[in-house]
């Protein structure tokens, strides 16, 4: 359908434009705003692939939570001086080589096209539900098959809370 293609291009432009601006802007606030644009583009692409739940999580958790935290920290630290300094690393030749290597590797697969990706056999349509990103179905899987990762993710969050407190509290 044409509309899908148009939407894809639109969101892809947001993702890439935001991404490029994120890594090139001098001002950290501008970078963070560009990153938000990029993240919203990614959220749009989720929606395009029937991942409604993750679309919501992306906006609530990523944009609303993580990025606000970033902006908060950027406001806390004074980066006026940093914006006037040289922005890019000295070893840019080494870095360029590394990026080129990664890009070439991935470029090869783009060149090979769809065959190179060789997607595993999809589940039969009879098993596949009409709406893949259905929150109810996600919950079913999460609390049965993926119960263990869900539980240990809570340990992870506990570690993060304790860690942030240790780094931030007045005296050890």
């Amino acid at each position: 359908m044409l509309i899908d293609t148009v939407l894809f291009y639109m969101f892809a432009a947001l993702v890439l434009g935001g991404g490029v601006l994120t890594i090139t802007r001098r001002n950290a606030v501008h970078s963070a705003i560009s990153l938000i644009v990029s993240l919203l583009g990614v959220a749009g692409l989720y929606l395009l692939q029937q991942a409604e739940f993750l679309f919501a999580v992306q906006i609530v958790l990523y944009v609303g939570g993580i990025m606000v935290l970033f902006l908060f920290v950027i406001m806390l630290v004074n980066l006026d001086l940093a914006a006037k300094e040289r922005q890019f690393n000295k070893q840019w030749l080494v870095a360029l080589a590394a990026v080129a290597a990664v890009a070439a590797e991935i470029g090869y697969f783009i060149y090979r096209g769809k065959d190179a990706f060789h997607i595993a056999e999809p589940a039969t349509m009879a098993l596949a539900p009409p709406a893949l990103g259905n929150t109810e179905m996600l919950a079913d899987t999460l609390f049965s098959e993926y119960l263990l990762p869900f539980e240990i993710a809570s340990i992870l969050l506990l570690v993060a809370v304790v860690g942030a407190v240790v780094m931030a509290k007045k005296r050890i």
Binding site: M1, D4, T5, F8, A12, V15, G19, I23, A28, S31, A32, S38, V42, L45, L48, Q49, A51, F53, L54, Q58, L61, Y62, I66, F70, V73, I74, V77, A82, E85, Q87, F88, N89, V94, A95, A98, V99, V102, I106, F109, I110, G113, I119, A120, A123, A128, L132, G133, M137, L138, T141, L142, E145, P149, A153, L157, A160, G163, A164, M167, A168
Partner: protein
């Protein structure tokens, strides 16, 4: 069912990943470096969702969900570390935070 071929999505996420790697390697501001990592994680998530859609399986969504949880945890701790650095040194330039050499 979208008609956009899967390889477009995968290519897009690969490019996004490379952008993140480039930002990580090139930039000198620690916060921007950290934001580059977020770009890379988003590229990964997009890959997961794309494959999940293609495979008609829901578990890819859950992987992306766990990646987001981890990203949130990383952000909390990472930003706390960045704040301590700023408090002790007054700079967030990665080249200035390099005092240990022989």
């Amino acid at each position: 069912m979208t008609e956009v071929p899967i390889s477009w999505f995968l290519t897009l996420s690969a490019v996004l990943f490379v952008l993140g790697v480039a930002g990580f390697l090139f930039r000198r501001n620690i916060i921007t470096v950290f934001m580059s990592i977020e770009l890379m994680l988003n590229a990964v998530n997009l890959t997961f969702i794309t494959f999940s859609y293609q495979l008609k399986r829901v578990n890819g969504h859950l992987f992306a969900f766990f990646v987001m949880v981890v990203a949130a945890a990383e952000a909390a701790v990472g930003l706390a570390i960045i704040l301590t650095i700023f408090k002790n040194r007054g700079t967030l330039n990665i080249d200035d935070v390099d005092s240990m050499k022989n």
